[in-house]
Amino acid sequence: MSREVAIIGVGYTGFRALTPDVSYKELMYEAAVKAYDDAGVDPRSDIESFVTVAEDFTEGTSIFDEYVPDQLGAVLKPVHTIAGDGLHGFIAAYMQILTGALDIVAVEAHSKASNILTPQHIMAYAMDPVFNRPLGANPHFIAGLEMNLFLSETGTTREQCARVVAKNRRHALYNPCAAFGATIEPEDVLASDTVAWPLARLDISPHADGAIVVVLASKQRAEELCDLPVWVTGAGWCNDSFSLENRDWSSAVYAAKAGEMAYRMAGIRSPWQELDFAEVDDTFSYKELQHMEALRLCRPGEAGVLVEEGVTELGGDFPINTSGGSLGMGNLLDASGLARLLEVILQLRGEAGQRQIPDVTTGMAFGWRGLPTTSGAAVILSNGYEEV
């Protein structure tokens, strides 16, 4: 690889179902102040470029990128906004440093989902206006279609999906900033109302508000500034065909391809053995299992059994979503992927508190852009410690 890049700082605020006390700008400011302090940088003099991630439709303001510089310390600096998952923004910032033109870049993503009064309609806007929207169904049916074929083809059960919910919401109890920690049983999930069969209400991650800022630096600057740099060793992203008429409904091909790209860069052949843990998109319960299989964290059809056996819970052989995932922390819209990355960073720095996994050196974050997309991104991080 041409140039090594590290994460030197991270800041976050939230994550709550409602944040009426702050505007989105004040929310972003708080996360940015914390990230810059953590990195030991002054945004006005040290940070050379800023990447933000936002979708105009979820903000309710078009050309939203114009609204971000003030609260990030980015006035009169290079700034651009990406419409994608938080990890797409992170990879864009990473690539800016790879060019060699820049040494310190910040990336931001946030959610003010509570301010959207018609979220189901905003989601429907992502559907094709000619082929799909006139049918008039709530877009959650797309998750229903996908879950149905995934369960049918892999032999995974609704009970196993429900166990993902119970696991992640329990993990969230150990994460002080998670919004939806709870002790619930798989039976509670199965008993919740059907939203789009086989998907039930508790299979769906509820929305939350929050903001995350990550500061990246070139090797030289990272080593000057930071005692505990977390290295980016792999990155990949991929989009499948969007079409609801003929996409692959069973396996998440976008995740498989994004993962392969990141593994190749990181020199990883056997992800299950070479990674210590992962944070994997779980916008819906079955998505965690589907993404695990696509990312080769287990064999096809095996993910449900692993969650049943407790392999993926805290204390298991391969913990997944120790943060609580989206099910436990909340669906943070475009910031969801950065929330997955945040947990990987905290685990690799040994700062995950009660949910710290001992002796970890390498972890992966995988983000999905949500319904109705087939858009995913994977990032592999390492703290550079020797495996014990």
Partner: protein, 169 residues
């Protein structure tokens, strides 16, 4: 060039062709609604407007008094230090005479949007509003103006609690 062309090929479309769906198209009625949390800075700004005051914040580092207020200084990237009451008058920084409505229909009396530098705030710090009770031909950069407020009981905590700014006497 075009003057040499006597006849254009193709079929002309009439509005009725669309109404009768001879030309196929799909429509969608938007349902995008939001309620933005005002937070600390905008929240107090609006609350003060309701009380008939314009309020700003001060940064001790760059010694600016800014309006509308924010809780952080975008230049210094530090928290603001103090809230300060400003006067409900100022100077026109720039203005325009807007002769069209939203549908681009022409109007006789133009709207006069203006940036008004508020007295008491730093140079260049202004709020965007409309001018009223003024002949459009008399408006000029540097014009002294003052706020015309709605009656207190009609105020809702919105920028429209000020109806417009008019020339100072």
């Amino acid at each position: 060039m075009s003057s040499k062309i006597k006849e254009y090929p193709g079929v002309a479309l009439h509005e009725s062709d669309f109404a009768e769906k001879k030309v196929l198209y799909t429509t969608w009625e938007p349902n995008a609604r939001y309620a933005w949390d005002t937070g600390v800075a905008i929240g107090r700004y609006l609350a003060e407007l309701k009380r008939g005051h314009i309020v700003g914040t001060t940064c001790h580092a760059c010694r600016r008094i800014v309006v509308p207020p924010r809780v952080f200084c975008e230049w210094c990237f530090r928290p603001m230090d103090e809230w300060v009451y400003l006067q409900d008058q100022g100077v026109v920084n720039t203005f325009s005479l807007c002769h069209v409505r939203w549908d681009m229909e022409r109007v006789k009396e133009p709207l006069i949007p203006a940036v008004i530098e508020i007295a008491g705030a730093s140079k260049g710090m202004g709020i965007l509003h409309l001018l009223g009770e003024v002949d459009p031909t008399e408006v000029h950069i540097g014009l002294q103006v003052q706020a015309v407020w709605k009656p207190a009981r009609q105020r809702t905590g919105a920028i429209t609690d000020i109806r417009y700014f008019k020339p100072s006497n």
